[in-house]
Amino acid sequence: MKLRDTLHLSLHTVASYRTRSLLIVLAIALGVAAVLVLTALGDGARRYVVGKFSSIGTNLIVVLPGRAETAGGFPGAVLAQTPRDLTLEDARFLGYLPQVKRYAPLNIGVAELVAASRLREVTVLGSTADLLPIRHMNLAQGSFLAQGAEHSAQMVLGAKLAQEFFPHGNVIGQRVRLGDRRFLVSGVLTTQGESMGFNSDELVIIPIDYAQALFNTSSLFRILVEARSRSDITSAKEAIRDILKRRHDGEDDITVITQDAVLATFDRILRALTLGVAGIATISLAVAGILVMNVMLVAVSQRTSEIGLLKAIGAPSADIRLLFFAEALWLSLAGAVIGFTLGQFGSLLIRLAYPQLPAWPPTWASIAGVTIAFVTGILASLLPAARAARLDPVKALGGK
């Protein structure tokens, strides 16, 4: 029998047993669609988190006081016996490192903001002009803290605060009071929403000197450092650790976190998660395979006399095996195509429902889903096809 005829005849058969075929195709399609949709969700979540994390800066290094490690030897003994403060001086030294493009010292606190006869507590960020480019912030109006003008009493307002205090616009140049000091509003941030625990829309930013005076402290909360390039991150990290150790009398009492490392960790975890859900979805394909096998076994026993007839008119066992095999191939093909379409459509629906989530099924998942559908269908047809091929024609014809 020619391959073309085998394919044609088996397609005819598949099309004739409509309900049975639909059932099998549906089972396979749902499995494939599940693989696509679940991996789209997983990978979408990964891209969302990684994207959010990347958007807070590029080649970012965060320096904080204290060691986030336990001391060796004595389990549970934390080495953080009052770490030395991080100071503005420390920050300035980081700026001299060749791997460092720019840096921004950071103080944080809460104070009362009074303006236009309104009053509320706000989160205050003290920093310098470079915070804007380092944190990828954008201004809606006015200007940010001026470069080198740490001593002028300017303030940048978060978008929501500006709206709340000055609902009729005209924010720039307004006088406000923060704690017991007066400031001039120089700029307003664009809406950015929540990122890394702060809502920058409900923030005020003032020069670092004012913040330290306001909170009566000389120690920094953090130093944000931007390395010159990605390849500089590791050596910048080393250099920062080195220079601060020297400045702190040989004590390695700071923690340096690189955005890269955190990103890589998130990326790894979420990739593993995606693989996990892909594995779970694959189980549904395996279940579909068992269903396919059972339905095909029933089909073989229903078509016993037909198989006997085919043998009587001269079909060798190989042809009969191929016929059943080809049926499985068609069913898998239909299941894979419909499942792929369903999966893409499902992912589209997720993207429409959650526009922030880039829920695209990854290419590897599409390929894997379709391949597994075929492998499952073919494996599931092996036993039924072999059983059909082995049927004794005399008995097969006898059981009319």
Binding site: M1, H12, S16, I313, G314, A318, K400
Partner: protein, 211 residues
């Protein structure tokens, strides 16, 4: 293997010449169908030899036996054995497809056969839409489309009424007249008597063989 060994056939010594018209008769369970299956290479004897067209076919491989069946044997069954989801034309086409003949030639030969068996206006009908006589004619067209040397008919009129049965017999005898060997298993004495050679079976043995 059953618990008890059954000798469906024993001591069969039979030679049928090409072009003969033979009837096989005997009570139920006497081994008529089994003998026909051995002749048609559907069943293998546990011992003994079988030569077809001067060639020993007893120990051919399964694939080769299938080929011999396709080329030399045509089966006609009491219950027609048409594939229900295929049309009359597609049923007749099946052996040509199995033989790997090209579609254009297949179509021509199927058309010719349907015309010959007066089935042209039933070509696109499925078996369920055909009468018993029409079904058996489709089955005969299918059995003869590859011009086999022998036509093996196992009670071909068993499911048909007398008149239609006679029509089907006339068709089979017509094929015999064109040179095909015709071996007919029947319970019907009248039909059996029409053959030129009469074989009687009992308990798996040939008890009479007369011309």
């Amino acid at each position: 293997m059953g618990d008890q060994e059954v000798h469906a056939l024993s001591e069969i010594n039979l030679e049928i010449a090409s072009g003969e018209y033979v009837s096989i008769m005997g009570p139920s369970g006497s081994g008529k169908t089994t003998l026909l299956n051995v002749i048609g290479l559907l069943d293998r004897p546990d011992s003994g030899r079988y030569e077809l067209d001067g060639r020993d076919v007893t120990d051919l491989s399964e694939t080769e036996q299938a080929r011999v069946r396709r080329e030399k044997i045509g089966f006609v069954f009491q219950s027609f054995h048409l594939v229900p989801r295929l049309t009359a034309a597609e049923n007749v086409e099946l052996p040509l497809m199995l033989a790997g003949i090209a579609p254009a030639e297949r179509r021509a030969r199927v058309d010719e056969a349907l015309l010959g068996f007066d089935l042209r206006d039933r070509a696109q009908h499925r078996p369920a839409e055909l009468s018993g006589g029409q079904r058996q004619r489709v089955a005969i067209a299918r059995a003869t489309i590859l011009r086999p040397t022998a036509l093996l008919a196992d009670e071909p009129t068993g499911n048909l009424d007398h008149r239609i049965g006679a029509e089907v017999m006339a068709l089979l005898e017509g094929l015999h007249h064109t040179g095909t060997t015709l071996i007919l298993v029947t319970h019907d004495r009248e039909l059996g008597a029409r053959a030129h050679r009469h074989i009687a079976m009992r308990d798996g043995e040939i008890v009479a063989d007369e011309k």
